[in-house]
């Protein structure tokens, strides 16, 4: 585990974006080889959105995310080993092999779930913010959701609740221009999701989602407001996902227009690296971070590969506090 950059928040921001990028590049490759079961929804292209937002949070602040779940936990500082092990369906995975790629959720880092039912995280964040308020804690709850998710009633209900009760919540709409194959403009009425904030009487902020500093600044202001008892903020990060809705599907769902190349040119990691170099950071230091991250990812994969699969009985854990009884006729053939 590297410590490079941990004391310099600028380098830490860079490091976390690199960790997401490299973790997913590895995951995408071994998914293509059949080592990861299920569907893999990658976050590549959106790193500045997640990292910028999470850099504005404290470790004990809450976070709820989505099916596109790899970026959020890494952005909040989660360790890679349990994440990679989860992708492989291993017992040592962060969700004990129960959740997989759509649910990389590390509760020890303040996560309250990465939920794959689109929009379902909205009320959870409102509720966590309510809980923190009732407990007299100055924690905030941040909800990541997609442009597509902005059409779900649950997102509206969560935001309205948070607004009417002035809860310490931050709603971050990661607008990556598509929900599966559907362009945002075909599914979301109005120009911007952030404009809806007006209807709730809360601030609505639009931010360049490829600029990690800009995202961090916007979320920091929202966090200050929330902690100060002034209620929620809706932030829309204008961003882009590089991969298809899910990768390695054998068929592209997302129609790519000419703007695709423009977006790829505005790569969030390249932009930030350039900014750091211009600010005097030595390229060698950045390269060292890249290298250390690569080692971390390799270590995580080795750990995941060396880990055991859950045993059948574990399928009956976690429904309730106590393990369920296992029907004998099922056990006999497991």
């Amino acid at each position: 585990m590297t410590t490079t950059g941990e004391n310099d928040p600028r380098l830490e921001k860079y490091r976390r974006m690199q960790r997401i990028r490299q973790f997913e590049a590895k995951a995408e490759k071994i998914h293509a080889d059949g080592e990861i079961p299920g569907a893999l929804h990658t976050y590549a292209g959106m790193e500045a959105s997640g990292v910028g937002a999470c850099m504005a949070l404290r470790d004990d602040d809450y976070m709820v995310g989505t099916h596109r779940s790899h970026g959020h936990p890494i952005a909040k500082g989660a360790k890679l080993r349990p994440l990679m092990a989860e992708l492989l369906g291993k017992k040592t995975g962060v969700c004990s092999g129960k959740g997989g790629s759509m649910h990389l959720s590390d509760f020890s880092m303040g996560s309250l779930g990465e939920t794959s039912i689109v929009g379902s995280g909205g009320p959870v964040a409102a509720g966590a913010a309510l809980g923190a308020k009732l407990q007299g804690l100055d924690r905030v709850a941040l909800c990541f959701f997609g442009d597509g998710a902005s059409s779900e009633g649950a997102i509206h209900e969560g935001m309205n609740l948070a607004a009417v009760w002035s809860l310490p919540a931050i709603f971050v709409c990661e607008n990556n221009r598509f929900g599966m194959s559907t362009p945002t403009s075909d599914a979301v009425a109005g120009e911007n999701v952030a404009d809806r904030a007006h209807g709730y009487g809360i601030p609505g902020v639009i931010v360049d989602g490829q600029d990690v500093d800009a995202v961090e600044a916007a979320v920091r202001e929202a966090v200050d407001r929330a902690r100060g008892g002034k209620g929620p903020t809706l932030i829309e990060t204008k961003t882009y996902r590089y991969g298809d809705h899910a990768v390695n599907m054998g068929r592209e769902l997302t129609p790519r227009g000419p703007e695709h190349d423009e977006w790829v040119k505005r790569d969030p990691i390249t932009i930030y690296r350039q900014r750091l170099i211009e600010a005097g950071v030595a390229e060698d230091d950045l390269d060292a971070i890249d290298k250390a991250v690569a080692d971390d990812v390799a270590d995580a994969l080795q750990f995941a590969r060396d880990s055991a699969y859950p045993v059948f009985e574990e399928a009956f854990d976690h429904v309730f506090v106590d393990r369920l009884p296992i029907p004998a006729e099922v056990q006999a053939h497991a």
């Binding site: 989860e86 369906g89 092999g97 129960k98 790629s101 039912i117 929009g119």
Partner: protein, 329 residues
Amino acid sequence: MARITFLEAIMQAQQEEMQRDDSVFIMGEDVRCNVFGTTTGFVDAFGAERVRDTPISENGFIGAAGGAAMVGMRPIVDATISSFLFPAMDQICSIIAKSRYIYGGQARLPLVIRSCLFYGNSNAAQHSDRPYPMFMNMPGLKIIAPSCASDMKGLLKAAVRSDDPVLSFEDSTCWMAKDEVPEGEHVIPLGKGDIKREGTDITIIGVAGGVNVALKAAKALEAEGISAEVIDPRTLVPLDRELILQSVRKTGRAICVDPAHMTCSAASEISATIVENAFDALRAPVLRVTTPDTHLPFSPHIEKPLYPSVERIVDAARKVMGAKQTQPA
């Protein structure tokens, strides 16, 4: 007759019904891009007005299908994965299921809500539901759950023509299976089951993809000298109770195979029907082979053994055929 897949059967049924009746239209998430292969070329054939991509808002567009149905349209809603019906429970259960009743027969709701049963492939608990039993417990909703392409096509066409709301549960384990499907007018009335294999010793009633597992088990049982009859109700509401009872009266033994969770499953309803109406004919307890009452985990090693399998059915059949054994608790 043509050999086509289950998915092609869905596509053909939709195509033919849209050609036949202008009031039929289709809407859902990503239908224009043909995400699951059931709307190939539909935008070109029918235009974007009748082939509509919706926002991700199931309660909104499923409810809107109900509203459109009330004024004379016949919407087919593609909700893609059946787990996504849950955000729409409000409109399905409070409006669509109840409007005809609550308004004393004034409302008509001729719509079809299609969704697939997306289990068995490491999609984790939030995507792997087989929720038809929950809807069986809600009066006012007809339910089809076919197991082969031919039935899929015939039942979906009947569903589109039905003046009642119909939920179509399409088992993804059947998607790629090919089957002989009659060309032209092929409509199977709702509520009519089918004997998929004749036998004399034991009746195996299968639900959705469970039928195909039951058929494989029946073959294995044949090698052991046990003759199994396999019944596919095809429609869960209304349920062809008479077909099931006739078979059980002949064989005296029954197993219900259902990929849903055990408690209050379709298998439970079928078992109760048998015990209540054919108790005198029974020579052994009725057994259910279902998915136990746990969620579906991501890790394939612990997911796969949870579903009904040939081995579990064969075991259950041996038990039923054997001495006066009872089912272990």
